[in-house]
């Protein structure tokens, strides 16, 4: 049992200290306001020990647990998405050059490109041009502590989307470099969780199904949190870097039974999940549902508020926002999260292509559960349930998918197996 060790509950402190001493910024679950969020962990006391959660459509509540569990809750309010892919970041800054040719006065009096530094510098002989400064990232490597199976899978999906294609997000790649992952096996899924049906949890797969790379450096399963004498973690080693850390902290050898006990925790967690999506058929159900009457129904409830997409750990859509000072002497381009629920998301000359809310909801669920597979070879949903809990209207992606499946099976579709093309369902790249 060389790859499995036992870590006493009190040993978390040593693990955190070890990671910090190696220069990692440790990010994990912590309490803020009325929820558990992902934040910096400096010591074990930053973890939400003894706190659980209840999650239902449009409802999230913390609750006090009657034990000392460190990880006795489900998906935090936000995943680790903002750790590697922040909601807003500066891509570059531009400064209008003042130094100049004798013609500069003339250029200043014809500021055609003022505030619009995307045009080429010195576009005319009279234009002094501008200087671009790229934002330099200087961030320490991240250690994710207590990241759950669904969210870990979501990071792998982002690796594919943001770093595994022709055009990469350079800041994402920099932030992801040398990440150390201490995953946690889920013991207490919420009523909104459905990772078991998506094949993305509650126990993380040892390797990334797309790349074969190890998913985690270390995996923790919390055992017997209600018994202070026995409370400990089964610590599974996934990489050599993980082994190195495990050997540097205070652990004990594990027996075969210990692994068994860890597997029982996640088996029980899976059996607790009440929501599900039929992953095998959902892609085709959605392809066949482009003209379903269900879209009107859901659009009558949907607020087009964007919350589902912004809490979704796999949604990656962004827009750029440019800012300039009053004089147009300096400008910045910011990359910010966007959402297919915003009207401007599809704005082209003349107006948005997805004006109706039904078209926007259809885009969202179809992208997550169908066209994502065409685009990336996997589904875009990891079953974390955040879009259900944090939707102010309580719209439930599992129920919408099930309803579309039922309607398709019952033949309640005006156009049968119509496969959407063109502007019906747009694949977003």
């Amino acid at each position: 049992m060389d790859d499995i060790r036992l870590l006493p509950a009190t040993g978390l402190e040593g693990l955190i200290a070890q990671l910090r001493s190696r220069g990692y910024r440790v990010m994990g679950p912590t309490l803020r306001d009325d929820a558990i969020v992902t934040g910096e962990i400096r010591s074990a006391s930053d973890l939400p020990q003894g706190v659980g959660d209840e999650q239902d459509p449009a409802r999230y509540r913390l609750r006090k647990r009657d034990d000392g569990a460190y990880f006795g809750f489900a998906a935090p309010a936000q995943s680790s998405k903002p750790v590697f892919f922040p909601a807003e970041e500066v891509i570059w800054r531009g400064r209008r050059d003042t130094a100049v040719t004798p013609d500069s006065a003339a250029s200043a009096s014809t500021p055609d490109n003022a505030g619009n530094p995307t045009t080429a510098p010195a576009s005319s002989p009279h234009d002094p041009g501008f200087t671009v400064e790229r934002d330099q990232l200087d961030a320490p490597p991240i250690a994710l502590l207590g990241v759950r199976s669904c969210d870990l899978r979501a990071v792998q999906i982002h690796d594919k989307v943001l770093a595994g294609r022709t055009y990469i997000d350079a800041h994402y790649v920099t932030r992801r470099e040398a990440t150390f992952v201490v995953a946690v096996a889920c013991s207490d899924p919420a009523a909104t969780c459905f990772c078991a049906s998506m094949g993305t949890g509650p126990r993380p797969a040892a390797t990334d199904p797309a790349t074969g790379e190890p998913s985690y450096d270390l995996l923790l399963t919390e055992i017997a949190p209600s018994d202070p004498d026995r409370h400990h973690f089964v610590l599974e080693i996934g990489t050599e870097a993980g082994r190195d850390v495990a050997h540097a902290i205070d652990t004990a050898p594990a027996e075969f039974d210990d692994q068994h006990e860890a597997l029982a925790v996640t088996a029980h967690a899976a059996s607790q999940q009440t929501r599900r999506i039929t992953a095998a058929t959902v892609r085709d159900d959605l392809r066949a549902s482009a003209e379903s009457s269900r879209w009107e129904d859901v659009a009558s409830r949907c607020l087009s508020c964007t919350n589902c997409t912004l809490v979704c750990p796999t949604c990656f859509c962004t827009t750029v926002e440019d800012v300039s000072d009053l004089t147009g002497a300096t400008a910045e381009r910011h990359r910010v999260w966007d959402s297919c629920f915003s009207e401007d998301f599809t704005y082209i000359h003349g107006g948005p292509t997805r004006e109706s809310v039904k078209a926007r909801y259809r885009q969202w669920i179809t992208h997550k559960l169908s066209s994502w597979e065409d685009q990336f070879g996997m589904l875009g949903c990891v079953g974390c349930g955040r879009c259900i809990a944090w939707c102010p209207a309580g719209i439930d992606i599992t129920e919408e998918a099930a309803a579309l499946g039922r309607m398709r099976a019952g033949g309640v579709l005006p156009t049968g197996d119509h496969v959407p093309t063109g502007d019906h369902v747009t694949v977003t790249s």
């Binding site: 009325d34 964007t306 147009g328 944090w390």
Partner: protein, 312 residues
């Protein structure tokens, strides 16, 4: 707006007089033709430059309002000097007693139309203004004083004033765009100073202001806030309200009050259902829709629908 020598009559109004028919949508932006080109050169100077023909003349006008939006301009402490350098502040009684005669290149208009005199004056201002931008909930939706639209103004008058006969007032409070053409409407109660500066910067640089029309929830989630209706049951108008404030209230654990008016895609019927589920009484729901933007068509309709028994 290349020619402001003429102005159009009041836009067609609904029975309640609330229609914002002449409102210019953010997407249409400021028309570059109206932008005085030569502003840029001098504007680069950090200090207020002496008045010159090259700097656009700015006027700030007040109608029925609390002055809060004008104060937002004065609150731009860090930027005030460069604003004063970039424009020639020709008329701004809140800030300076010096008055420069019109016409003005850019007029910022605060407040709503509540008196016959207002109606006359706004046409005069329109005629003197190259570009006219309304600022704040009063100017863009009639403000909190639009509550009079549901009430008996004569009764108010007789209760509040000893000599109501000296008073000349209208039965309604209406946005500026119900009376004259408006080039751009900036929302908020009060306006957000960063957005105000953005509109000024856009005007000076001849580009479209970057003012999003999506919901407050977008700003709220980008900030990493915890959603208050979900996490503790506090009612929040964020999903139907336009962003702009930086999700100020939810950032401090309170629900959004709708200061920035309806977002571009407004499903108030669904939000009303949610407010009912959070335990709000119908009268309270009517009240949250009827605050600073009571006269905005979507909020007006939502409040009326609940009042008519449409919430459950």
């Amino acid at each position: 707006m290349t020619d402001h020598a003429h102005h159009h009559g009041p836009a067609a109004q609904t029975a309640s007089g609330m229609e914002q028919a002449a409102a210019i949508e953010p997407a249409s932006g400021l028309e570059p033709a109206a932008v005085p080109g030569p502003a840029l050169a001098e504007a680069a100077a950090p200090e207020p430059a002496p008045a010159s023909a090259a700097r656009p003349k700015l006027a700030v006008w007040k109608f029925a309002s609390c002055d809060g939006c004008q104060l937002s301009l004065l609150n731009c402490e860090d930027e005030l000097l460069s604003i004063a350098g970039a424009v020639h502040i020709a008329y701004f009684p809140e800030a300076t007693r010096a008055v420069v005669e019109g016409p003005y290149d850019l007029s910022l208009v605060e407040g709503s139309i509540t008196t016959p005199e207002d109606m006359r004056r706004i046409h005069e201002i329109r005629a003197q203004s190259g570009t006219l931008v309304t600022i704040g909930a009063c100017a863009t939706a009639g403000g909190i004083q639009a509550l009079r639209n549901w009430a008996d103004v004569d009764e108010f008058r007789s209760i509040v004033y000893a000599h109501p006969e000296y008073l000349s007032t209208l039965d309604t409070s209406t946005p500026i765009a119900s009376h004259v053409d408006v080039d751009y409407e900036l929302r908020g109660c009060p306006v957000d100073k960063r957005q105000l500066i953005e509109v000024l910067a856009a005007y000076l640089n001849g580009r479209k202001p970057r003012i999003p029309s999506y919901s407050v929830c977008v700003e709220c989630k980008r900030k990493g806030n915890i959603c208050v209706p979900i996490a503790n049951g506090t009612p929040c108008l964020g999903p139907v309200t336009q962003a702009g404030c930086g999700a100020l209230c939810p950032t401090y654990g309170r629900g959004c009050y709708g200061c920035f008016g309806p977002q571009d895609t407004t499903n108030t019927a669904s939000l009303t259902t949610q407010l009912v589920e959070l335990g709000m009484a119908d009268a309270d729901i009517v009240r949250v829709y009827r605050t600073f933007n009571a006269g905005a068509p979507e909020f007006e309709a939502a409040g009326n629908a609940v009042e008519a028994g449409g919430a459950r």
